[in-house]
Each structure stands twice: as C-alpha cells, then as structure tokens.
C-alpha cells in the first residue's frame, strides 16, 4: 500500500508547481488556495482540502505523510488517525511520503523525524484535517439530497441518509465537496467514540515488506543512473594523498575513479562493476581528522577528571549535603562510542543539473539534506528537491546527511545521476557515533536511609555542538553567509557551556526524583569525531548512570529498590503508577527461581514513562537475559500492537548495546568494522518480553525511544542481585568478565 520510491512528479516539478493547496491548520479556506482546490477537483476528480489528505474518485484516500518510515510505524499511525476521523477503513488509505517542499516543514522549521515526536505532533492537526474533509463530503451529500447535514452519517467511506435511504460513496462526492466551505474547527470525536484508534490494526506497510516490493533508498532506480562505491581511508576522515586507478579504469563498466577529501569514488555502470574495480585501486592516505585519538586513553582521562563542571540544574547544596551525610557514595558510570549500524547501509541517489538537484534518500530530515546538498553543489536549498524513501532503520543516524553531501559531490563531477552505496565497513568506520561518556555520580544518605543529596556530572562530547552545522543549515530566512557566522557562534557558546547543552544532561536535569539537594553538571570534551543522536540520545547513558546508582543507594540504605524510588516520587504520580504496574506484571517481591537475578529501572523520556524489570541468568559466565517486563504510559495509544513492537524493539536494541557493543579507536582508527566485531543480539539471545500499557486520556507521547533507557540499568542491577558484582561500565559483558578476573 505504501507508495514506493521515486516521485510521480518530474524533476523539480513539485517545487515549481507550488504543490499542495492548503497548509494544515494554518490556512484553511483562504482565497487563492480555495480556487485551486476547486480547479483541482474539477480537472482530476480529487478532493485535496489540505496538504495531507486527498480523496480520490475511486473512494481511496491518499495520505501524504511528512515523516520518515524507519520501522516505527508512523505510516500506520497517521493512517489510523485519518481512518478514524475521515470514516474510511484503514485498508483504503494509501500512504505516500512527502517530499522536501517548504510547506511540509512542520517540525521545528523542518521536515524531520526524530525525538519520538511524530504521533504527538499529528494527534490533533491530522485528525482535524481528516474531520474537515469528512464534513465537506457530508456537506456535499446533504446539498445533493437537500437534507440537513446533521441527518447524514458516515461509515466505511460512505455518506448515508437513513430517513430517505440514500447513500453515496466518498469517491462520488469529491467534486461537489470541493465547493463546500473548509471548516476551520471541525468536530473531533471524543475518545469514547473511537473505533479505529486504540485497536491493534495491521501495519499498512506489512504486505510490501514481506513480498519484496518495499523500496528503500538502496533500491532507487532513476533513468541514466550510474553507481558509486566509495573507498574510505583506514583512519577516520582521512583524505587520499595519492591514488593509482589505472588498472581499475580498464575494468569493464568503469566510468571514472575520482578522488575527494572524503575518499576515492569508483563510478561504474553497475554497482558490482564498481565493487570489483575498487579492488584494483591503490590509495595512500593523509592523516585522518582524529589521528591520535585513543578511546581508552580518553576514557581514563575522563574518569580521572576532578573539576566540578558547569551546572545544568541545581537546587540546595549538594556539597554541604555530602559533607553532612551519614553515608556518602560516589561512583563513575561509563559508556562507549556506539554506531547505529542500521541494517540498510548509508546510501543516496543524486541528480545534479546545474545549480539544481534532485535527491532520493533514506533520510530522517529532507530539509537537512536540501541544505547539505545545496552547499555541496553551490546552490540554494529550495532548488534541491528531496524524496524520502523507506528507511532500513534510522535510530538517529539518518539525521546527519554526510551521505548526501558525498553523493552530491560525486554526481556533480560525473554529470549523471549517481547512486552511492557505502560498504558496511564504511558505514561503521566513517560514521556518526553516540558519544563516549563518563557520568560522575554522588549521593548522600541520612541515618534513616533517606536520599538527601544527589549529584550527576556528565563528561563527554556534546551532540549539540556536533550538530552546529545542522542547526545553522535549517534556520529559516537567513542568508547563507550569515549561517556560518551563526553556526560558529552557536558552537562557541556550546563549547563554553554558555548555552546549556540540550542532550548531554537529558534524563538527569529533568529527573522526577525529589531530592532536597541536587546538582546536575556537564563538562564538554572536544574531539573531531562526529557524534550524533542515537536512539533515545542522552537518556541512553544518563538512565544507566542514574538508575544504576539509585540501585546502589537503595542497597546501601537497606531498602527495596522500588520502595526506595517510591519515597522520592510524588504519591500517585504517573511514575509511581508505571512502577507499580511493572511490579505487578513481574510479581516483584516474590522469590525468583534459583540462579535468576532480578533488576529494576525506570525512566522518563520523550514525555513517556517506562519501567522495566529484567530477569538475568549466568550461563558459563555469559550474562543471559531471560525475561524483560515493561510497563509504559505514553498517553492515548493509537495502535497498541505498534507500541508493544516499539518497546520490544527498544529493549533488544538497548540490550545489544548494553551487553556487547562498543566503538573504540586506536590512533584515530575505528577498531570495529562489521557485525562480527560490532555484534547485534541474535534470536537465541533475545529475551521473552512482556509489555503492559497503562490506560490514559492524555495526548500521545513518544514511543520509539522511551523503552530503551531502562534496559541497561535493569540488567546491571539484575547482575548485582545475582552476583553482587556492580557493573558501572557499558558494555556490561566485558566489564563483568574483567570484574571476575579481578576477583579471582
């Protein structure tokens, strides 16, 4: 059902035509747009009252989604909202992906997918857009039959008038409906009236994803296209010094071999020809951009850092609380650099025509791709048209369009449309990474075991700083030259901590725990290794530190870990309800089977609340997670099965990282290169996962990421329960092995 890749519009046609008729929730019914809507309906039979919804003459509905589908089910979620308010079955909605036109920049001035915000952003506006279309269709039917609209009902894409036993399908009403006024405030259903929202419907993209017809970025085909394979250097960011491509050029199908500062591109008629020819290219390399970087040395320097750090949030006086504590506890929690390792390696297709370009990319922000490609070809961003394909995983990686920059530069030189596909090795060794971090924790306990002081100091690279180009690139209405100035000043402020870092302390500075004395601080570390959002961003490390440390404090206070937290949280709060729900689900407090250790953690992220309990066993020294219980409150649930799937996904994704994954560098060379050295959990290691979703009337909040932060601390706490070994460093398995060696 999902519309596959390249556009139905011609080259840059969408930009020139001005595209959709009415921008959602802003310009309903305004003059010129209205005429266009009527004209469009007269000539095509399509009712397009806003830029999202088009009712087709055959009664089907095309829903244009300005988000990227990377597995999180946004296409299904949005279709569900529309099915509910428009009154059509889910199966009659075809999802198409919006291109990069400006009217689709509805998320922080961008067309972007991230931060678990898609459902939250669309919940009211998209239902309103659908309800408006429904009222217009009803109005058209009522006018045709000369009956009051209030006497008409809508079901399954049909408007009916029971009293006169007449009915008309949506498809037959589109032209008349276009003449109806666009209601500015259509009536929305109450939650009790929902018949589609909240039901576990099938994914709209499932069929295409099981029969081989789903098209991702790597599958894009455009006329005249050639293929590029890029040889990247061994050191991160190394530029070629010399290269010899004589033999390669003689290989069949090879068009050119070109050097750039990012590597050497082998361009051929077929990708397999480029792959084969690349073996014949010899390259010598300059020093990489992070030559000398050694992550182990960096780790030691970070954990030995003694200064206090800039405050990101503070009340009371933690230093005083510590000096007066009955017991004080201090610990360093550590996390490594991580790759995203999306199953689909980074790739992109670009056609450059002069100062214009058309791009097909599996990307999380076509707006950013526009900006980066414009820079690469010396054009302006609105002359770049970007089509978002399906994404074979995103997780934050596909926000950063280095792939688009590289492909655009190759395409500009080749003067033909180019599809560039990175090898898995390039994807892993020349990537953007979750930052390596150290979090210094301290806590003060009273004689009664109450937490009187709590401090957390995060040390590591700032994602905001690393994203400065992106921030500069998308600022609205600012000329290019100014952007660089602004980018630099943002960078300067971030590096001195004048502007508080958005991501570094998230999950700590907004902690719901009520502690009389609290201090959250951050010290940025600067390296040229690019860092990025990685599923749940700062939360993924900060929850590990906070929830692991709270477990330490609970044990020191002789308290049950859940009871200890309950004492720090407002009674009957959402946090407490979710904790209690997972405790019920797992029968927390009852004895567990021998050989099993049980750990608890909770975290608030992206406005959702998740608590998890992990049951862990040791098998020949290997940490094996048998079961994970999860409770989640994410507001009104659009599709409970997708919520469950996302929690399962986040748990398994988080477990892979918690147990085994790390990116390390020695002299600026990434040591991991493929799934053998950067392992993902395999099926035999995947735990049973039980999920309970709390009922809620609140508007929807995030689902794609919030399941991740609690899993690492839940497992570390379970290992402690089982073995009395406290793990404060990810990945946990090597840390556990090391602790065992130390003990024996």
């Amino acid at each position: 059902m999902v519309e596959p890749h390249p556009s139905r519009r011609g080259f840059l046609g969408g930009v020139a035509a001005g595209g959709a008729l009415l921008s959602l929730a802003v310009t309903f019914g305004c003059g010129g747009a209205r005429e266009r809507m009527v004209k469009h309906a007269e000539s095509t039979g399509e009712l397009a009252p806003n830029m999202y919804i088009t009712v087709l003459p055959d009664g089907r509905v095309r829903l244009t989604v300005n988000k990227a589908e990377m597995g999180q089910g946004v296409g299904t979620g949005y279709a569900t909202l529309v099915a509910e308010e428009l009154g059509v079955p889910l199966e009659r909605i075809d999802v198409a992906w919006a291109d990069s036109r400006p009217e689709y920049r509805t998320s922080f001035f961008m067309h972007q997918t991230g931060g678990s915000t898609s459902t939250k952003e669309a919940y009211v506006p998209l239902r309103r857009a659908a309800a408006a279309a429904r009222e217009m269709l009803v109005g058209a039917a009522a006018a045709t039959w000369k009956v009051p609209a209030a006497e008409c009902t809508v079901k399954d894409g049909v408007v009916a008038h029971a009293a006169s036993a007449r009915s008309l399908g949506f498809g037959a009403l589109t032209k008349q409906a276009a003449h109806q006024p666009v209601p500015a405030r259509p009536r929305l259903k109450k939650r009790a009236e929902y018949t589609v929202i909240g039901k576990a419907g099938r994914r709209v993209d499932a069929r295409a994803k099981v029969d081989g017809s789903a098209r991702y970025g790597i599958d894009v085909v455009v006329p005249d296209m050639v293929h590029a394979y890029v040889i990247h250097g061994p050191q991160y960011g190394a530029a070629p010094k010399t290269f010899d491509a004589e033999a390669a050029r003689k290989r069949p199908g090879v068009i050119d071999v070109l050097a750039f500062d990012f590597g050497v591109a082998v361009v051929a008629h077929r990708y397999w020809q480029a792959l084969a020819a690349a073996r014949d290219v010899t390259v010598t390399w300059k020093k990489g951009t992070v030559a000398g970087l050694d992550t182990e040395a960096m780790r030691r320097a970070m954990r030995d850092y003694k200064k206090a750090g800039e405050g990101a949030g503070e009340h009371g006086d933690v230093d005083r609380a510590m000096s007066r504590a009955h017991r004080k506890i201090e610990a360093v929690y550590e996390a490594p650099y991580l790759a995203h390792a999306t199953m689909e390696p980074q790739n992109c297709t670009v056609a450059v025509r002069g100062k214009r370009a058309e791009v097909w990319a599996p990307c999380q922000s076509p707006t950013l791709v526009q900006a980066f490609v414009a820079d690469a070809i010396g054009g302006s961003r609105d002359d770049v048209l970007v089509h978002t394909t399906l994404l074979g995983g995103g997780f934050g990686r596909r926000f950063f369009p280095d792939f688009a920059t590289q492909c655009a530069r190759i395409a500009k030189r080749v003067k033909k449309p180019v599809k560039m596909i990175w090898s898995r090795e390039s994807d892993m060794t020349q990537a953007f990474y979750r930052p390596q971090l150290a979090v210094m924790m301290r806590g003060a306990l009273s004689p009664a075991g109450a937490l009187t002081g709590f401090g957390a100091h995060v040390i590591g690279q700032s994602i905001s700083f690393a994203s400065r180009d992106a921030i500069g690139a998308v600022m609205p209405g600012i000329p290019n030259a100014m952007k660089h100035v602004i980018t630099e000043s943002i960078a300067a402020m971030l590096s001195t901590n004048t502007v508080p870092d958005m991501f570094a302390t998230e999950g700590l500075k907004n902690t719901p725990y009520k502690v009389p004395n609290l201090r959250i601080a951050f010290t940025p570390v600067n390296t040229e290794l690019p860092v990025a959002s990685w599923r749940s961003v700062g939360n993924s490390v900060n929850a590990f530190a906070a929830e692991g440390f709270l477990d330490e404090l609970a044990h020191a206070a002789g308290a049950d870990p859940i009871a200890f937290r309950r004492a720090l949280l407002p009674a009957r709060s959402r946090e407490v309800r979710v904790m209690d729900a997972v405790a019920d689900l797992a029968k927390w407090g009852r004895p567990v089977a021998p050989g099993i250790g049980r750990g608890f953690a909770r975290h608030t992220a992206f406005e959702s609340e998740v608590a998890e309990i992990a049951d862990v066993e040791l098998v020949d020294g290997r940490i094996v997670v048998r079961r994970v219980y999860c409770a989640v409150d994410c507001g009104v649930v659009i599709n409970p099965d997708i919520v469950r799937a996302q929690i399962e996904s986040a748990v398994i994704f988080g477990l892979s990282a918690a147990l085994d994954q790390q990116i390390t560098l020695v002299d600026g060379v990434v040591q991991q290169s493929n799934y053998d050295t950067f392992p993902l959990l395999r099926m035999f290691e995947a735990p049973e996962i039980h999920v309970t979703i709390l009922d809620s009337d609140a508007d929807p909040t995030g689902v794609g990421e919030p399941g991740l932060p609690p899993i690492a601390p839940a497992v570390a706490n379970a290992v402690f329960a089982l073995t009395k070994v406290r793990l404060r460093r990810m990945p946990l398995q090597p840390a556990f092995d090391e602790a065992k060696r130390g003990a024996s």
Binding site: G71, V210, M343, R424
Partner: protein
Amino acid sequence: MKLVVNGKPVEVAVPEDTPLLWVLREELDLPGTKFGCGRALCGACTVHVDGAPKRSCVTPVGDVADKQVVTIEGLAPDPATLHPVQQAWIEENAPQCGYCQAGQIMTAVALLRAKPEPTDADIDAAMSANLCRCGTYPRIRRAVHSAARAIKAGGGDRG
C-alpha cells in the same frame, strides 16, 4: 551465463565471480534481496539455491549456474496468494523497517521445509543466522510457529 531464477530461465552477461546478490538486484531487477554486510554475517541477502538458504552476497554467480534460485519475489505461489510464512509475518505485525525481512522469511521457509513442526530451539538455531536491527525476533518466533500450523492445516507448503 544461464541461470534459473524464480522458475524462469534467464541469461546474464557477468563474470562468474560476481556475487549473486548484485546479479539479482542489478541484472535481473529483483531488489527484494538486500545487502546488509557483504560478509555472510547478517543474512539480509538470503535466497534459496536448490531449496537451501544461501547468502547471496558471498555466492559467486558461477556457483549457481543450472541451479534453482528462488528470491523473496518468487516465494508466493501466485500474485494473489502469499506464502503462508509471508502471511504469518503480516498477521504477527513482524516487520518494522522491514529491511532484514526478506532474508528472515527465506530462512524461515527453508526451516519449515526441513522441520515442519519446529521447537523453539529449532527456530532459535535456524533463525539466529539472520540479524534484525529492529529487534523483531519475538514476533518472528511467533510467526514461524503460526506459519507451521497454517502449512499443516493447509496441506503443505506449495512452494
């Protein structure tokens, strides 16, 4: 070189050491088979060669001359009917990003032909060959079981 792909004889002009994966994707317009690692580590490129699951990224096309190659596009018995494994995948809402799923399904179909009533341990053993970054394993496990039941009830795998 002559091949038989999805039941149809085809001819391709490529060197024998070209990986089958790229021959399928680029020469035969069958992009449902995916590239994930290129080193036989992830299973995204799994196809059937004479009924057995094979990693097409490391299989030289010369090795499959005159053998039966089946890809995800050739699994359904006819355009209107999905293979019971594909159907089970839809019913369990198994795919997320979907990128690994062609490989997962090809591995599962081969498993069920060898073991029509697999235990959890059989499923773990066979399906651990295929990585899924989205963590769809619990659903794949359930889908393999329900596909096994469907195949049994429906009188066998027609593929």
